[in-house]
Amino acid sequence: MTYSYTKKTQSTGFTIALSAEYENIAAVCQEVEKCLNDHQLQDILFSVILCVREALVNAIKHGCMADSAKQVIFHLNLQETQLIIKVGDEGPGFDWSCLKNKKDPTTCCGRGIRIMKQYFDTVIFNEQGNEVELRKKIPNIAGY
């Protein structure tokens, strides 16, 4: 395995730079799980891990075309009343303004962003479409 992974811890969260390989997703999820457990946020563990997975898969698969030479940046910031997650990639981005609100449950694809919108209060893409920001309001975070 040649995949790379670098974590930098900040006072309210951490940033991980990873090569665009699926093998890195589990390691990022472990870091997120540890952080949420440390702040007694087990109630949202499933939904946050699920959305982290979706955002990372999108960045690796669609943003970087699973090119291990490219990098994905994951950022988690746990503020007093909200959780903010950002996932950016080195890809060209996509035209998020054309996102269709697919609701047909029989289709086999296009469900990742819908999942993120289901579990987070806000899902915003940057202008270029190569970074997504997820925000979730969380009352009573332990440690604040």
Partner: protein
């Protein structure tokens, strides 16, 4: 890899890990092989599955679409509360037969 119990055209499949990228692709291959092999009644034991992502959901939907052509439906059992809610949120809970554990 999944544990597979077969009885005629019926198969019970028990994945031993979460159905997520990149593992979901292998699981898809396993189900596809069973369907090509004449299985018309497919049941998935979700006991060891704590997480399923959009790719994993796509695998279940693809299997259901194939079974629907044969006049049957995919059955799931031992589904965790979190995954049950996810299926509801994605309006997929009516697409499959979800047995009470």
């Amino acid at each position: 890899m999944s544990e597979v119990s077969r009885e005629g055209e019926k198969a019970i499949v028990k994945p031993d890990q979460n159905i997520v990228v990149p593992l979901a692709k292998d699981f898809k291959g396993e189900l596809k092989e069973l369907l090509h092999d004449g299985i018309t009644h497919l049941i998935i034991n979700m006991e060891d599955v704590n997480m399923i992502d959009s790719e994993g959901l796509s695998v279940l939907i693809a299997a259901q679409n194939s079974l629907q052509k044969l006049g049957t439906s995919l059955e799931l059992f031992n589904v965790s509360e979190n995954i049950r809610k996810l299926l509801q949120n994605m309006r997929l809970d009516k697409r499959f037969i979800i047995q009470d554990s």
